[in-house]
Each structure stands twice: as structure tokens, then as C-alpha cells.
């Protein structure tokens, strides 16, 4: 076990993958200086400017060129700086990368990891704070990952680079400094959820930093006599329906919590699936927590109005139990 922060974990995984496979390379803005959050610190010194390529501020070209390079046999790791900026490359991701294999009748692969830091990060306002994971889940062809711990960021980054599908890799900006023990030999199968806490009374389903909030909420609930199970999906496509459905069959109660806008969010997919597959097991009302359908403001008190809080999760869990 090695102690690492969230940002160190994916950086170390990337470094090891680049050492092991010379077709892996990184492409994006300011990578030589580590990029915005230090995700690439030291890598250009180690691997040189060809494999850690500094680019113009050209999101469409970063995404499109990485795709072209993937089709001729390389494995690019693409940096978009903020998930918001990746919207400048939406055609490249949605119309080109996600569709090529199907449209070309299976002739092509796009083994790419597309890194898009997401989430609320104090006073970053409306164009640097979004979590749009549900958009990507809606696009056939993409894999969508949302790691929430250093261990997952390490093991899932490695699995993402090995994957032959295009992977949208969403790291939450709020937890770059989160520390944890990492077992560097641990392999994680993409699509498998983590049961972060076992419990008998209510199932809390979440991902990304909100999963960490659910773990906190579960501790608070335990002190109040409620035994919550926390499922961190980690991967939104594919997602671990079996883990969620079997947990709800055990607890009979469900809360889904995520940071992104509740309307049309992936929480709706989770709830719908549970109702279809384990509706008979539900013993209380389902609760779904997400942001109001508004924009993220700059002022801290307004920004806070977009947050799902630990207290909201605690309250929702108790409501499913009629408390």
C-alpha cells in the first residue's frame, strides 16, 4: 500500500502505462507544466515533448487529432482542462469518435482516454463547474467513468488506458488533494461498483465526490440508528445494475444522490431501473437528490444552492424509512 493523493494516483498510473506501452501518449494544453491541476507534473521531463505534447488552445483539434492518431495505432490520453471546455469538441467526441467503429462496420477502434475535470470548485462559476456525465452516458459508443478515491483513480486510469473503447474520464476537481492508501496491484473491472459501506436499512447510490459525501452521511446516519449501504458506481457506462438491484432487494429503500442537475440526470436512470427490476422490493418512497435546474453562480452563497449536502442525504435516507 502506498499513500497517494487523488491527483498523484492517476498521474502515477499514467506514468506506469507510458513506461509499459510506448504507444501511449498525452495531448493537451500546458501539459509540460503539469496542466491546470498538476495531473502531468514531471511527465514531459521523463517522456519528452512528443509523448507529452503541448498543444494550441484548440479543443476540437486536440480531440480530433487524438482520434486520428488513435485510428493509426496510438493510444492517446486527451486532456480537456475543464469538462466545460470539452464542449468545444463535442462534434469530434459525439459525431466522430463515438460513432466511427459502428459507422465503419467495425473497421476502426478509438482507444482513447478523454480526461475532463468536473464539478463544483469554489467560485469557478457557470463555465468551470459543470458535471455533465449524464450527457455522455446517453451517447452509444462511449465508456463513462467517475472515480472518487485515490485507489479508484489509480486502478481505473490504468484500466481506461487498456480499454479499446473511447473512455470519458471524469475526475472531480474538489478532491485532487484527497489522500488514501493505494494498492498498486489492485485491478478494477470497469463497470463494477464499489460497496463503500455495507448496511441493511437503506441503499445510497452515488458516484464521484458525492459518493464521498454519502460515506460521511452514512456515518451520521449510523449514529442515529440507520444502517446505510453506500454504493459508489464509479462507472456510469457500463453501470453495475446488479449491485444496485441486489442491494435494494436487501434494504428495500433507495436514495440516489449526484452533484449534477437532477432533471435528466443519471439518477433518474438508476431509479427507473430499480423500479423496473426491484419495484416489488421497495418498502418506502425513493429519493433522488441533485442540483436544481439552474446555473452555478460565482457568489459562494449562491453556489451553495447548487450543492447536495450531507444533511440532505441524511434527511432523504430517513424519509425513505418514514422517519
Amino acid at each position: 500500500m502506498v499513500k497517494m493523493t487523488f491527483v498523484e494516483a492517476s498521474r502515477e498510473a499514467l506514468r506506469e502505462m507510458m513506461q509499459a506501452d510506448e504507444t501511449v501518449w498525452c495531448v493537451g494544453e500546458d501539459l509540460g507544466r503539469g496542466s491546470v491541476f498538476g495531473q502531468y507534473l514531471g511527465l514531459q521531463d521523463e517522456f519528452g515533448p512528443d509523448r507529452v505534447a503541448d498543444t494550441p488552445i484548440s479543443e476540437a483539434a486536440i480531440m480530433g487529432a487524438a482520434f486520428g492518431a488513435a485510428m493509426v495505432g496510438t493510444r492517446p490520453v486527451v486532456e480537456m482542462r475543464f469538462s466545460d471546455f470539452a464542449l468545444c469538441a463535442t462534434d469530434e467526441l459525439v459525431n466522430q469518435i463515438a460513432k466511427a467503429r459502428f459507422m465503419f462496420g467495425g473497421q476502426s477502434r478509438a482507444p482513447m482516454v478523454i480526461r475532463k475535470p468536473i464539478g463544483l470548485w469554489r467560485s469557478s462559476a457557470a463555465q468551470h463547474s459543470q458535471s455533465l456525465e449524464s450527457w455522455y452516458v446517453h451517447i452509444p459508443g462511449l465508456v463513462v467513468l467517475c472515480p472518487a478515491t485515490p485507489q479508484d483513480n489509480y486502478s481505473m486510469m490504468k484500466a481506461a488506458i487498456r480499454c479499446d473503447d473511447p473512455v470519458v474520464y471524469l475526475e472531480h476537481k474538489n478532491i485532487w488533494g484527497m489522500e488514501g492508501e493505494v494498492d498498486t496491484s489492485l485491478e478494477i473491472e470497469l463497470g463494477k461498483a464499489a460497496v463503500r459501506r455495507q448496511g441493511a436499512d437503506v441503499t445510497l447510490v452515488s458516484w464521484s465526490d458525492t459518493a464521498n459525501l454519502c460515506v460521511q452521511a452514512a456515518k451520521t446516519l449510523a449514529a442515529q440508528g440507520v444502517d446505510a449501504e453506500v454504493i459508489d458506481l464509479r462507472s456510469l457506462w457500463p453501470w453495475d445494475k446488479e449491485a444496485v438491484v441486489s442491494s435494494v432487494r436487501k434494504t428495500g429503500r433507495l436514495v440516489v444522490a449526484h452533484e449534477s442537475v437532477a432533471v435528466g440526470g443519471f439518477g433518474a436512470e438508476v431509479v427507473a431501473t430499480v423500479v423496473e427490476q426491484a419495484g416489488d422490493a421497495l418498502r418506502g418512497p425513493v429519493r433522488r437528490l441533485g442540483a436544481p435546474r439552474s446555473l452555478v453562480a460565482y457568489a459562494p452563497n449562491l453556489e451553495d444552492k447548487m450543492r447536495v449536502t450531507e444533511q440532505m442525504i441524511v434527511t432523504a435516507a430517513k424519509e425513505t424509512m418514514g422517519k
Binding site: T55, G64, V143
Partner: protein
């Protein structure tokens, strides 16, 4: 082979390729309009064959091509099998893409053709990236990316051409300028002097050529590709031609000045011009007609064979989406 023989052979090859492209697209239009066998849109390049034949004769099978929604000619000239292409247009099993792409998404990775594209200009960044990937791997292969005049007004033109310049990539950008952006005259929606000047402003050498003079296109492309293969970096070829049909085969093109297309057909047809060049080299009318007849009979047979091919199996609708979380494994 003497220089004269060599010139005659290349001239015949250029004519033969243009005749094959023309015949393929005439059959494709018949399949669409007469036979109702092509259900989606096709975008013919009739009248533009000089660019496809003249450019592509300078590239090898393992070089990389990316093309546009109007890309049948480029793809045939890269060496793709016309029967697989026609099956693709008809949405049939055995099409280049198994009937899942259609005319606008034809790709044949076996001959280095990495895809036509339904989004104008989108291939430019992808092609630059293919060249980037080849350079990273130390390959001596090169990339040719063909796009239309409409594409120079899209952002990916700036981003992709700048990218190729910054990373000094082995790629030829060809702006096949047929003068129309869908149904709008391109000059009416383009600021400044256009494609070549825009490429030059990004540090590329740019050359303008009469795209309906297949010999001139082949000559200039040979010079350019020699420089690119020698490590000279990206270049732009601006080939001026004319789109004789509407935007799609269903478009009557009533927006064009009366007689414009007919005048071009009479005075500036790349096939007629190449026949004249070959007649000047001593080929007889019978020899030239035989090249025409061979292309016609090849493509009539291609359409007949394609039409006799079954549609793909229903389960293909869920195949080749992705490895993990594929719809064949998932309930949704």
C-alpha cells in the same frame, strides 16, 4: 519505358480512373432515382473527377486518405472495391461498412481510406491527427485529406491546419473547390481571398491548380508529395473545379444561374479534356471509347451485383458499438 510512354500510360490511367468514377456515380444516381435502391442522400462528384484521379495517383495503398460526404471518387481512386462501395450505398451486406455507414461514411481501412465524413470540415483535425500518429511512430507513410470549399469556413479548418503546421506533419490538405457550399455560392459567404491564402497565413505552402485538368493536378501533386515525403511538412493544394449536379442527387439546383452547369459540361469537362490530351498523344477515338465502354460495363455490373446482395442481418444493429457495455450485452 520512355518518358513519352510513361506520360501516355499515366494519361490513360487518369482517363480510366475518371471514367470509372463517372460511371460509378451515374449508376449510383440511377440506383437512387430510377430504381429507388439508394434510400439515403448521395452527393455526386460528377465533373470533379480530375481532382480525385490527379491527386490520388500520387499516393500508395498504405498512405492514409480522409475524405468528405462527396468522396466516392477519392475512395475509388485510393483503390477501394466498387462493388463493396455500391453495396454500401444500397445498405447491403458486404458493403465496405457492412451497410451501416452508407454513402457519407464510406471507409475502407484495407486501402488506407479512414472515412468519408457527414460533417463538413470534421475530417481536417482527424486527418492531421492521423499524420501526427504516423509521425510519432516514425512511419514514412503520409496523409492526404480532401475537403470542400465550404469546409474552410468551419473552425476545424483553422484548428486542424494550424495543428499540422505547428507539429510539422506529413499531410497534404486538398481543398476541392467546386464553388458551392450546399446550395449557396461559396464566394458569397467567404471573407478574403479564400483557401490558399488562409493556408498560407498558417505557414503552409499553398498551390492553386485547375482541378479539371487532371494532368496538371497529377503533376503538381507529384511535386508536392515528393516534398512532403522528404519531410518538408504540410502543404495545401487548392484545386478549382465545378459541381455539375445539385448538392445531392435529389437536388435540382434551381438556385444556379441558367445554363451555368450546361456550359461547364460543354467546355470544362475533365474527361473530355483528358480525351483531348490523349488524342494529342496519338490515341485513337476507338481506344478512348474502349476505356469509356470498359468503365460503363464494369459499373453496370457492379450495380446489378450490389442489388442482388441481401440486407445485413438484423442483429448487426447492435454490433460494433463498443467492447464493454455493448448493447448486445446490456438490456438497454
Amino acid at each position: 519505358m520512355s518518358t513519352a510512354d510513361h506520360n501516355t500510360k499515366r494519361g490513360r490511367d487518369l482517363l480510366a480512373m475518371m471514367e470509372r468514377i463517372r460511371a460509378f456515380e451515374e449508376q449510383a444516381c440511377l440506383a437512387a432515382e430510377r430504381d429507388k435502391l439508394v434510400l439515403g442522400a448521395i452527393h455526386p462528384s460528377i465533373g470533379q473527377e480530375g481532382v480525385a484521379a490527379g491527386v490520388m495517383c500520387n499516393f500508395n495503398r498504405d498512405d492514409i486518405l480522409l475524405s468528405t460526404h462527396r468522396g466516392h471518387g477519392h475512395t475509388l481512386a485510393k483503390g477501394a472495391d466498387p462493388l463493396a462501395m455500391m453495396r454500401e450505398l444500397l445498405g447491403r451486406e458486404g458493403g465496405c461498412c457492412g451497410g451501416k455507414g452508407g454513402s457519407m461514411h464510406i471507409a475502407d481501412f484495407g486501402v488506407g481510406m479512414l472515412g468519408a465524413n457527414g460533417v463538413v470540415g470534421a475530417n481536417i483535425t482527424i486527418a492531421a491527427g492521423a499524420a501526427h500518429g504516423l509521425k510519432l511512430q516514425g512511419s514514412d507513410r503520409v496523409v492526404v485529406d480532401i475537403f470542400g470549399d465550404g469546409a474552410i469556413n468551419r473552425g476545424p479548418f483553422l484548428e486542424g491546419v494550424n495543428w499540422a503546421s505547428v507539429f510539422d506533419l506529413p499531410i497534404l490538405f486538398v481543398c476541392e473547390d467546386n464553388q458551392y457550399s450546399a446550395t449557396t455560392k461559396t464566394s458569397s459567404v467567404t471573407g478574403g481571398p479564400g483557401a490558399a491564402a488562409r493556408a498560407e497565413s498558417l505557414g503552409l505552402r499553398a498551390t492553386t491548380v485547375d482541378g479539371n485538368d487532371a494532368e496538371a493536378v497529377a503533376d503538381i501533386t507529384a511535386e508536392i508529395t515528393a516534398r512532403i515525403r522528404a519531410g518538408g511538412g504540410p502543404e495545401m493544394l487548392h484545386a478549382i473545379t465545378y459541381r455539375r449536379t445539385g448538392h445531392t442527387s435529389f437536388d435540382p439546383a434551381g438556385y444556379r444561374p441558367n445554363g451555368e452547369s450546361e456550359h461547364e459540361a460543354k467546355t470544362n469537362d475533365p474527361i473530355a479534356r483528358q480525351r483531348a490530351v490523349l488524342a494529342g498523344m496519338g490515341l485513337s477515338t476507338d481506344e478512348l471509347d474502349a476505356i469509356h465502354a470498359a468503365a460503363q460495363s464494369e459499373m453496370v455490373q457492379v450495380l446489378a451485383d450490389a442489388a442482388a446482395t441481401p440486407f445485413p442481418a438484423d442483429e448487426m444493429a447492435l454490433q460494433d458499438v463498443q467492447d464493454i457495455g455493448s448493447p448486445a450485452q446490456e438490456a438497454y
